[in-house]
Symmetry: D2
């Protein structure tokens, strides 16, 4: 890469959350005249049953360089694992053709691990956003595994940055500048209309002038109990509050079919209950729903990240986010109906919390992009303890 | 896994070196009546051009549960990387069928990474032998990546154990008991006959009563210079010593064809020179050659590990092992003919060194197996800094 | 294979229809003491959204040797095609481990092609049931491609057998003994209870004492028009008849999501209409529904095959089965609401037809199994025109 | 595809022979302003041990759109079969990105089957050159399987065209215009210098002014006997003639390592014998060697095709080409040293034969390209017997 040439940067998105988080960074990279951005979409972004969020990316003005289908169907551990293998085979060929100077990835999903391996083993310099955090499920393992592969790191919090360095990464390669989704949240219109809500999903009418609860609940792949009726318990608790419920379908992880079945059976037994389901939202709409929710209930990482910044009261259910940093707006409970109900009621009566800058202040994306433009690609990492 | 049932342990071997290192542990596991050992062979072990070392494993009395071909041909970065993907697809199915309680892997090769992912993402407890060391080439990245995936760790040195813990692994899961190859070296017959040497490889007669030099040199995948005539320089230096040379072909890593070509061109230009090439040795024969060599020249990790224990003088060429611990028996030089020659001459005049127990004392394998038999399988790892 | 040894026969099932068709043959092979049956399930049989028909196979008393997930998610041409590739990789390993004397496959689905290639290229003798028929969609191409791979052929009709021979297969390897599903139909209880129907699927109550219409409609992968609202047109026509409707979800072929969406939108707009949807039926239940239907509407191959044998009036919509042989019980119409409606009305007023033995007479399965037991495995096929 | 737009044609080459045969057609397609040629190289073309013939393609002025590594290493049935699966996965993605109007393939190798499936299952119109011939080995099965997949056919002989039609292809899609390699042979300089020969391969000097024998011998994958010392027998027979020998290494098919070992052991035992080995030739050089050979011995399909056109005496050993059409210049013998020797002696004393136009007359390539430019892409094939 000579200084006169544009840097070719391949960014890979694997799901709706990935895009929501990194969108402001991608916009800046697209508009920079020092870079040539190659955007590749894969994973559940391409799947109709998750709302084909690739279409949102396109309608936001991005060109999609390539769509890469890698998910082996089945929602089992065995299919998740094969998908990683298939992803590596595919992305190896993609990067071998594109020969980017850098590959950018975000987060801790298994699909991201495929991308990381396909880049690093071909001596392509890997930039990872959001390493160093701690959580439950397989994401915890994936996140740190990717850290050991990546050449540059943009953790979202100070503590996450310290973790990355402690793991043996060279401090000169670690930039804890905050989470870029802060900029998305800052710039998003918080206004929400009932009409938008009714058009998009499936279910009963939601009146945005009345209180509603946002529910997002994903499986925990490392727990067998994940195969039990946890989502049903959660929804039963929500129902007791008599508030309207907006529910996002779970992600593609193993055992997500169990959660989907719980949602369907809840609906079947509670036909009059005002619940509305969504496959997907575009990032701005999601932020406006979160910003207007009376309470957010579930185990999405967005509830400790975006919700903290906005100050939405959160009831975090189960161990999926255990280990992450969160602000005072979060109450963590176990999978017991009564515990969940009491926590929601407490949060409803508390109302909005003060905004927290735990995950960064506005302007993060700009700083990340400026830093990226100053990086030099390199191959050979070495455990920093001995150098 | 109930206590009354035998533990099902799947061990996967990926190349000749893998087997040489772990053989004493496998023997003990095979003979234990608390375990059911499932031995799977993959990678270059199955390939004729690397001497099909799977046949040695069989003739040593092991049953091979399954042979899994995963190497995509080409000796390029792109084929190495695809091989990882193919390996994951294959091993996912193998483990899904076998449902082992534990998977055991050793070392830092890319094929081992496939095995690690196929196990961990299916919630199978992973035991890794030889993590925490530091070196060059892609192996360095692979080694620490595997550490972040593995549930239990058996590093070979005290320092390696400290590294594994520093990276955030729970100290209770880390057992720095030494390198099991120490037991292989201890038990191997050190007697070597010219006849054995002449039968096995290809090339000129080697008289074991005279001094000979052992040459093992592998590519460094992360260096472009690896594509230059480094092996030719090395062999030219060896030739100046006028000693006989025993040369092992390089491993399957990208750019190894460059090294093979260098060997062939050296032979073509030096038809009278007493050089003999080998695809592979069985572990015991390898140890006896190493033990009888006047000097070992190259960049094999065996030269800082097994050679230290035996006290063979070593000339380590290039950066491939930089960062590893070695004893006083090793001289590290750059890829310059004169530097290599001077170092060899110095080592020849020095002769044998004192044995070093840097990589463990006899009895390592027994301790490892005892520890393995006491382990409890678990899935959810968590960065230890925060627990 | 010596005569004293049992023949090891691997049979691979890829979907619910596959099983329904070959079940009587599998029963006989399982009970024979000359064979060792290895039953492998793959494709949509393993998927919850298609009713996990693998569970029906198990509850019928079969042991499942291995479950092989191969479907890449997306319902696109690109994912169907990748699934074939993934299937070959997987089945190659499975057959390499099992080393069967014969592999048995049935029908014309793309997953079956993977199995065929995995067997034939490893010199394993391939038996194909149901070659030589003519139809539309990609199945037509798959069917004849498999014929050119297979070593022995069991076509379902005389004409199909003639086609197989005409394509250059050795007549000595072609046994047009009929379709084994004839035995399933013969032996199935035709009694149907409303309770069974209500328990299994999702939707409104079906009163089996009143007339109902059975709808099964799959995509045509080779037609772009397949992406239009064809299923909606079909359901609108059915609705005009005011009869109850039993609908089976479409198979996993590309564009099937379009059909699913049509079904959902029909339900949304016709909430009071007595329609009930099913993911899957066990073979016997399916036959009893077909046998009790007032009319079968759609494009399933079962409608020209099983329905003919039973004498159920059929309205075949679109080109998917064009080229197949059918009896007088079938009316073929285009995708026009009025045409479909008129044809249904005509069939309703006509009622039951005479049974046809176009696809064989009871006893087919026995004859097939007897023949299989007499076959000699061989590898090298040769175009029969020149031998 | 509108008439105003250029047709996008993807051509895929899988080995040296593929290229040699189709080169004149590719040149014309490249120079036509009605087409946009996308040339993709895969298979053994990319491998150093087969002479990386991709480099010859480049130096002939072709742009390579993409290089796709698909060969799983091992030279076993299991690795050949996995390579087909990997090839499908890869080419599916390539075609999904390129969206060609047509894909062109040639011949009967297993790699070609991957390409065919990747195209046809994505509704891309497939053109196959050289279908309908009859031979032995797995190629025979592959060839006819591809015929059932392809939409348009360009067989090399009248009889081959008749076979394609007999197999149920629509006669309007079958164009038996001859083998395009005829144009290569016609235009190639037949002059051969010893210097060229000495520079390229490995072995002893060949004096082109004296008689030499060309040996090309590939494995027969469907025969277990292929694993025996057939090549050694052949070379021993050649040696008895005391003529110089030019030997091309075998292709990548399973058991080719057996043949390579035979060649090496022959050399080891016959150090003074004037034998020279080659990994690969560029097409023109190959033709000039064939044209100057006193006799061609082995089982290459080039010996019944190109050799016939030139009139070189051929001794065809074993069943690999059985079923193909050949001219009077060919003597077919079994794998017996004496039979081979007698046949060579007979051919040497006979000398040159009359040229045969069995595989076409000069101008074939032009006719093929003209026809291709007039084709209309379509998807849905149907067995022609019933239409």
């Amino acid at each position: 890469m000579t200084s006169s040439k544009k840097r070719k940067i391949a960014a890979v998105l694997v799901d709706r959350a990935n895009y929501g988080r990194i969108k402001p960074v991608l916009k800046l990279l697209k508009d920079s005249n020092e870079t040539e951005l190659k955007l590749i979409c894969t994973g559940s972004m391409l799947l109709d049953r998750f709302g084909s969020s690739v279409d949102i990316v396109k309608s936001d003005g991005f060109d999609i360089e390539e769509k890469v289908y890698i998910e082996v169907e089945g929602s089992q551990l065995v299919t998740m694992t094969k998908s990683i293998g298939l992803g590596i085979v595919e992305f190896t060929q993609v990067f071998s053709r594109l020969k980017p100077d850098f590959v950018i990835i975000i987060g801790d999903r298994y699909e991201v691990l495929s991308v990381a391996i396909a880049a690093v083993y071909q001596n392509i310099c890997l930039i990872h956003i959001q390493g160093g955090e701690v959580s439950g499920t397989i994401d915890e393992i994936t996140r740190h595994t990717i850290t050991k592969l990546a050449h540059y790191h943009f953790p979202a919090t100070k503590r996450a940055g310290e973790h990355v360095v402690a793991m043996g990464e060279d401090p000169k390669t670690v930039f804890p500048l905050g989470c870029p989704s802060v900029d998305l949240v800052t710039n998003a219109t918080k206004k929400l209309s009932s009409k938008t809500l009714d058009t998009l999903g499936m279910g009963r009418h939601i009146d945005v002038k009345k209180e509603f609860i946002l529910v997002v609940y994903h499986p925990v792949t490392t727990e067998v109990s994940s195969r039990n009726a946890q989502m049903r318990i959660l929804l039963d608790a929500v129902k007791e509050t008599k508030k309207q419920a907006i529910v996002l379908w779970p992600n593609i992880d193993p055992f997500s079919d169990r959660i989907s079945r719980d949602i369907r059976s809840f609906r079947e037994c509670n036909k009059g209950y005002p619940i509305h389901m969504y496959k997907n939202f575009e990032p701005n709409v999601y932020i406006s729903i979160l910003a207007n929710a009376a309470c957010a209930v579930g185990n999405s990482s967005s509830f400790v990240r975006d919700a903290s910044f906005i100050g939405v009261p959160v009831v975090l259910v189960g161990a999926r986010q255990d280990g992450r940093e969160w602000s005072e707006s979060v109450i963590r409970v176990e999978h017991r109906k009564n515990d969940i109900l009491l926590a929601i009621q407490k949060q409803l009566s508390n109302g909005r919390y003060k905004c927290s800058d735990l995950y960064g202040k506005p302007g993060v994306s700009n700083k990340i992009v400026e830093t990226i433009l100053s990086l030099r690609p390199y191959n050979q990492k070495r455990l920093h303890y001995v150098s």
